[in-house]
Every structure is written in C-alpha cells, then in structure tokens.
Amino acid sequence: MTAATLGRRSPPPSWLLGLAGLAGLVGIVELAPRAGLVDERYLPPFSAMAAALAEQAATAEFWRSLLETLRGWATGLAIAMVAGVALGLVIGGVPPLRAALNSTIEFLRPIPSVALIPLAVLLFGTDMRSTLLLVVYASFWQVLVQVLYGVRDVDPVARETARSYRFRPFTQVRTVIWPTALPYVMTGFRLGAAVALILEITGELIIGSPGLGRQIAVAQTSGAVAAMYALVIVVGLIGVTVNVAARATERRALRWHPSIRRDLAG
C-alpha cells in the first residue's frame, strides 16, 4: 500500500521533459565533435555555433536578411490567407461551383511548389517575387482546402435556423459559416505558415533571392560551417515562434469551440 502510494508520484510537467530533451540534444552536439565521433568540419560543437550566431548578430547583413525572410514569408502568407479564405467561402458556398472546381483543385494542389521554380525564375528572375510566387502557391492550397472543409462542416440545423430567421446571405456568412469555418481557417493558417517558411527558405537557397536562405548558401560555399548552422538554428527558431503564436491565437479565437473548451476544463 505505502509502496504503491510512493510509486504514484506525479510525473514531471511536459515542458520540463521537453527542455530536458533539448538540453540532451545540445549536449550531444557539443560532445560528439569534441570526442571525435563526427568530423568537426561537418558538425562543429554547439559552442562554436553559438559563437558564430553571436558574431552574425553583430552584422547588419544578418538583420537585413532576417527582415527579408520575415517580410517575404509574411507577405506570401497574407496573400495566401486572403485569397484562400475569400475563394474558399465563395467556392464552398456555391455547391455547383464546388463540384465544377473539385477536380481542378485536386489536380493543382499536389504539384510541389518547388517544381514551379523554373517558371518563377523565368517570370521574375532572382527577384524576391520569384520566391513570393512559390510561397503563395504552396500555402494557398493549405488554406483553401481547410476553408472548404470548414464550409462543408456547417451544421444543417444551424443553417436552417439562419434561413428560418431570414438572415441575408452576407449575415449567414458572417454569423454562421465563418464561425464554423474558423477552426479550419486557423488550422489552414498554421499549416500554411509552416509551409510558407519552408518555401521562403527554399526559394532563397535555390533561386538566391535575398534572405536567410541565401545567407545559409553563402556560408556553406565559403566554408563557414558554424555560421551556416547558426543560421539554420535561427530559421528553426522562427518556425517554432510562428507555431506557438498561431496556437495562442487559435486558443483565444476559439474559446467556444469544443476542443478548446475541453482543454480549459481538463
């Protein structure tokens, strides 16, 4: 009895476990190269990466690139969101249109955005617009598909309630369809944000449009391996921040939603 009670100590909180995992990774990256398990030319110890990061942070070039990346990402994502939500509501709200466009969407959606790189370069050269095209294309489908799911999810009883009280079409969109689709829009935003970041960096790396991706390529060709890793870490941190921010927004906007309600109760 006593043994059982003692054994049932509450497990450590998940954030502590996560932190421990991260510390473990940092430890391995620090020790493996020092112990000679991996070649330092390919994987410098973590302390070297940290030093390179501090060095980067002192240059104007770094901050300019960071800004370029964030701007490209945000612009692309914003365009994709606006277009995805607007078209999703229209296509989803008009069943014949939806039926007509379904196969077209299913054909265009799986095309990997990177396959459009030659086209983008033809159109815009190594300009930031090339990368923007990729970012918009990739994240647009994420958003559109989610919004279409969302519109389809509208409860028939809620719809009939709105009709029986003679809501105008615009009111129906604003008060019934939009709130139902909102959780899906949020998911679309989260997925779109992640994909947009991937494509932003890919575009900068391959096309050479300005941004952190290009800096990574430059660091790699000039043999500054620690600096390259430092930039990769920065890109990773951006990704994490974006995801956390998106989830926080989701929580606030969807207080009424069953998934969030349960979270609050639990």
Binding site: D155, V157, A158, E160, T161, R163, S164, Y165, R166, F167, R168, T171, T175, V176, P179, L182, W256, H257, P258, R261
Partner: protein, 277 residues
Amino acid sequence: MTADPTGAPARPRSATTAMLDVRGLQKIYEGRGRSVEAVRDLTFTVAAGELVCIVGPSGAGKTTLLRCIAGLLDTTAGEVVLEGERVTGPPPGMAVVFQEYGRSLFPWMTVRQNVELPLKEKKVPKDRRRRLVQDSLEAVGLADAQDAHPWQLSGGMQQRVAIARAVAYEPHLLLMDEPFAAVDAQTRADLEDLVRSLWQRLGVTVLFVTHDIDESVYLGQRVIVLSNSPTVVLEDVPIDLPAERDQLTTRSLPRFAELRSHVYELIQLAKSGHRPA
C-alpha cells in the same frame, strides 16, 4: 412583460381568421433512383391565435410538414398559405423552434447574442431590441444567464433560450418540432406550462408537433392526428378542456383520460396502416 409587448394591434382570436391554410399538401423526396412519398395529401386550417398540436407515428412526415410550412422545403403539390400569402420561402412572421436545440443555438455567441441576432437582422431599433431580449429571457426564467454561452447551460435551459429567441422575434406563427423530446420529464412539464403561458400572454398562433399523446392533449385546443406515411389527416380532434390548465388537475380530469385514449386509439390505427375512407 405586458400582455402585448409588440405594441402591435391585438389580433382578434376569432375562429374565422385563418392564420395558416394547408391545402392538398404533397411532398415526395426525390433521391437517386428512389423517391419517397412522405406526405400524400394534407389539408387543414389553423385560426389566428390557436394552439394546435400535430401527432402521428414516427416517420409519419411531421417534420416534413413543418419544414414545408416554414418555407424550408419545396412542396411537390398543393400549397401553404400563411396570413393570405403563399409560402415560397421562410415567411417574415414566423419562428421555428427545432428539436435539436443544441445545434440550433450558435455556440460562438452568448445567450443574449443568440436571442438578439434575429432582431438585428430584422432591423429592430436598439432600445426596443434590448427590451425584447430582456423580456423574453425573463419570461423563460433565464435573465441571469444572458452572458453565458449555450454550451454552459443544461439541455432544458438551452431549449428555453431557443424559445426565448423565437418569442423575442414576435412571430405571428410559432412552429415547434418535438421541442421537448430530449429533456427529462420534470423539465418537460415546466416547458409545457411555459409554452401555454407564453401563448396565452402573447396571442401568438402555435403549431406544436409531438409524438407524445399526453403532451398533445394537455397543450392543444385541437389535436390533428396524422396517418402513417404517405400521410393524410386521420382526424382533427377538438380538445374541450378548460382553458386554465395545470399539470395535476388537468391531467386527472376524466375528460382528459377520454381524449387521451381516443387519440391513443387513433395512433394505434395509424400505425396499423388505417386510412380514412
């Protein structure tokens, strides 16, 4: 709430003014390669200010009938005339209380917002809107729950919100589709009394669909019994019980028992496929 919070001229409760006229209504659902004749030929009239119950076996087409009257469903033949106008879409002077109250209220809005939204859409001025919301929520005993979200309330409370929303809308005709089927017996009795008192106070015409025989006899001035599908009217039973009803005394009246068994027999007939000559 005063006798008539609408301020509109009181409608006379004479049996001659038809509020609702259902003539030769037929509804056939056309599916892929399969068609279901849910309603064959329904004809009846509801006078202004009446409270009429509709009972019938499960699958008799009660919901179908209500949705046709509400203008939510096109009819195959025949017509529905509400206040002299043929119904082709949801008419202005009507409100519906659905059986699925949980899905009919919008969870992303508070109780007050749920009740107020149809009034906003109807362009009721702000002051009056406030008063209607307040009055209707008070009438259903939920004045304190205004800022709660529907999902924070019990089932019976949610259905009362749906009723408050319908009442605040000041409909001439109130349609209710098995509104109390999903609440417990005690709540159900309270809600039945609530419907009767609102009806008496507001002079609204009520068409109440139920599968509960006792409920139909207790509530209605008339009970229309439907045959099974394809549906026709089996009998239109006048309920000659005193206008003042309460759960204990009314239900123990000998006349209540007679009416109840009469309707019960009719439903049994309907189930066995009996149709009027």
